[in-house]
């Protein structure tokens, strides 16, 4: 009589689920909770405490990108108006999100922790050009989106906690390649 009991058991499960709270998240109004270390395929460029751009235009991220979607135009070195030291700047910085595979390599190689990923996903677009992140949009993302927890130094410290204590992350810009 196993099948007989099983029939009533399934009826019971159906009845129980009838009064359960539905698991659906009403998406446009409510966003589902994400994991602490979640990162999405969108980026932001950061400013330092003086309000100056952190990116020095060293092109490390452009070289390491497997999809070759980062394009940087660097300017020659000039003196920073805040610290007085000579450093490079990025004149133009675009990330083409059409082919980003969220590998995080650009963040790992950044010597200045200038680029981070965001916790908010990028909006779909009606054309391919809508998916290109320009420099203005990347700097606007710093203010408008929730940033991910990790930067290049943060990831390095997670791998090797002693390393961060020996050498503080706020090193001068002049000893970095530009």
């Amino acid at each position: 009589m196993g099948w007989f009991d099983a029939t009533f058991k399934t009826f019971g499960i159906t009845l129980k689920n009838l009064f359960r709270k539905p698991s659906t998240v009403e998406f446009p109004a409510v966003q589902r909770e994400r994991a602490e270390r979640y990162r999405a395929a969108s980026f932001a460029l950061l400013h330092d405490e003086n309000g100056e751009e952190k990116c020095i235009g060293c092109k490390f991220c452009e070289w390491i990108c497997p999809s070759q979607i980062i394009a940087i135009t660097a300017t020659p070195k000039r003196e920073s108006p805040f610290t007085g030291k000579k450093r490079g700047y990025a004149e133009d910085f675009t990330i083409n999100l059409q082919a980003c595979i969220v590998c995080e390599l650009c963040i790992q190689v950044c010597p200045e922790d200038a680029i981070v990923m965001t916790r908010d996903t990028e909006q779909p677009g009606f054309s391919r050009e809508d998916l290109v992140l320009t420099m203005d949009k990347l700097y606007a993302n710093e203010k408008t989106t929730r940033l991910s927890w990790h930067t290049g130094a943060g990831l390095m410290e997670m791998q090797n906690p002693q390393r961060g204590q020996e050498k503080p992350a706020a090193a001068g810009a002049e000893d970095k390649p530009a």
């Binding site: 998240v25 395929a41 999100l97 909006q123 009606f126």
Partner: protein, 159 residues
Amino acid sequence: MGLESNLTGTFVGTRLSDALNWARKYSLFQYPFVTACCGMEFMSAACSHYDISRFGAEIPRFSPRQADLLFVVGTVSHKLAPVLRKVYDQMCDPKWVVSFGACASSGGFYDNYCTVQGIDTIIPVDVYIPGCPPRPEQVLDALIMLQEKIQREPLEKQA
């Protein structure tokens, strides 16, 4: 049919277009052209946590003749390109195409001898979703954007 060309710009024509578009945008029958790993996220968008049926795109139709929304999910190789084109040609008007994920949008990081560099080289695309793979939220975002686009379509394009 010819009738709608007389109605273009008139009050009746705009009201009719609104009503037609309203009916169309909430009854999208999708054809999932799933070729790669993005299919997992597509399934997740269809499951109960996100529930794509709340936007009226509930039922996947596995015949292109019954579908009016083509989801191209995943990498499309050159050998598969004639198949995709034929599937698109078999769909009845009005029809829309969503390019799902990095590989379908631009070829992704498969910049090689066998991968189509974006499905818009073969078929017209309405909405591009970035991500590798996209979140289900982005899929629903794209669906909402597509619904807005359908609502804006003029009457003469609906013939």
